[in-house]
């Protein structure tokens, strides 16, 4: 039996894990320009559901931090803001990927052989 308290704790730790990986997930999909909602569906298809109310402000923050650039596309019926990584973003993203690979190895080492 999983009690309520345990479930709450579990969910709050899951939240923390997600918060730590969300920037990397978003950057991974922005080698090509994407607009907000297309990014939501793309991430969903890959198994990561993200609330647009979290993603949209995050995209703005990343743009403000100058690792994303945005362009307005007015060709369709509605004008949309497309985001993609700029040079700085790509460089940061590559370094983050290397760090991630190392982290996965370290974590797996700990989790799988933790007791010994």
């Amino acid at each position: 039996m999983v009690n309520k308290k345990e479930q709450e704790l579990y969910e709050s730790y899951i939240q923390e894990l997600r918060r730590g990986t969300i920037v990397l997930s978003v950057l991974s999909q922005l080698e090509e320009p994407q607009y907000g909602y297309s990014l939501v569906t793309r991430l969903e298809k890959k198994g990561l559901s993200i609330d647009p109310g979290t993603l949209y402000p995050l995209l703005r923050r990343l743009e403000k931090q100058k690792i994303l650039k945005s362009t307005w596309n007015t060709e369709g019926t509605k004008p949309r803001k497309y985001y993609e990584m700029n040079e700085l973003g790509k460089s940061v993203y590559q370094r983050l990927c290397i760090h991630w690979d190392n982290l996965v190895v370290t974590m797996n080492n700990m989790i799988n052989k933790g007791g010994n």
Binding site: Y37, G53, P57, P79
Partner: protein, 328 residues
């Protein structure tokens, strides 16, 4: 659709002016885009489901702002509470003392009217103190000022403050007594200068010959309030710092010198004194000769007492500041 407008308004009204138009369009487009998630619903149900999914507009606005907004944020909260306690405590003491003096010297009204005026002054005084401290901290919060020392320095082992020497600590009692004394002194001098003088009781009749000139008192005594405020500032600074260091002793010295100069200016002013003080005493006491104290002598004694007390105080403060300075 009206409900969309209302939702969007609820979000953007909590955002900075220059971002509103942009974010308004963004959210509207997002709602349009999200409609594809609910292909089988009618238009109104679609929109309602989407808005529920987007959730509380306040939270959404908060995410767009990126930072939480505070009147007084967590970084300044401790300092704010500290200063607030000191200021409210000082006001409480000052008003209580002032009211007590009033009860003692002006006994023409009853207990209940004294009580009522005490409570109402206390209420307004505390409210004023609370408001001013809060306003000042709110402005600092808005400007992004963080109160405290060493904000810009990177931390190192060296920057750990030394545990203050027992003698460097400033006792709170000392400051509180200081505030108490200042309040009594100023209040009596400001409102009841007539009680300071030469008391003669002859055949059961009490005569007081005031040492001050009561005719010009209203105009000359304004300076007392300035001296009082400087004195209170000095005591509050001591409470805030809690221990002696060079910075505090410099502030303290400057304030003391200014207030000493003002005290001297006050007592030198001939309009302050009752010039007939000696003659009146002689008249009442029927003394012709042998009472050769001049008013000028009394004046200079009073001034010298203030000067000497202040200079001794300043020297001891500078000594403590140098000796116990943390940053040496």
């Amino acid at each position: 659709m009206e409900i969309i407008e209302r939702y969007v308004y609820a979000v953007v009204s909590k955002l900075p002016e220059n971002q509103r138009d942009d974010i308004r369009e963004e959210i509207k487009t997002l709602i349009e885009d999200m409609k594809e998630k609910y292909p089988s619903d009618d238009e109104e149900t679609k929109v309602k489901k989407i808005l529920v999914e987007l959730g509380d507009p306040n939270l959404l606005a908060e995410r767009y702002r990126g930072t939480k907004r505070y009147i007084i944020g967590p970084k300044n909260y401790n300092q704010y509470m500290f200063i607030l306690k000191i200021v409210l405590g000082s006001i409480l003491i000052a008003i209580t003392v002032a009211s007590l003096i009033q009860v003692i010297f002006v006994s023409d009204s009853g207990f209940f009217s004294h009580m009522a005026s005490y409570i109402s002054s206390l209420f307004y005084g505390l409210l004023q103190g609370f408001a001013w401290v809060t306003i000042i901290f709110a402005i600092m919060e808005y400007q992004g000022v963080v109160v405290g020392e060493n904000q810009n320095k990177t931390w190192s082992l060296k920057s750990l403050p030394k545990i203050p020497n027992k003698n460097a600590k400033i006792s709170r009692l000392e400051s509180i007594l200081g505030i108490l004394f200042l309040t009594i002194f100023t209040f009596v001098l400001y409102f009841f200068p007539e009680i300071l003088g030469f008391y003669i009781v002859e055949e059961g009749i009490k005569t007081v010959i005031p040492i001050f000139n009561l005719n010009h008192w209203e105009s000359v005594s304004i300076l007392l309030l300035v001296i009082f405020l400087i004195g209170i500032t000095r005591e509050v600074l001591k409470l805030i710092y809690g221990k002696w260091n060079i910075k505090l002793s410099i502030y303290y010295t400057i304030l003391s010198l200014v207030s000493l100069i003002l005290i001297v200016v006050f007592f030198i002013n001939p309009h302050v004194w009752n010039n007939n003080f000696i003659t009146e005493i002689k008249e009442v006491m029927n003394i012709e000769n042998g009472f050769d104290v001049s008013l000028i002598k009394i004046k200079s004694i009073i001034i010298w007492v203030f000067v000497i007390l202040n200079v001794v105080d300043i020297i001891s403060v500078i000594y403590k500041g140098v000796k116990y300075n943390d940053y040496a």
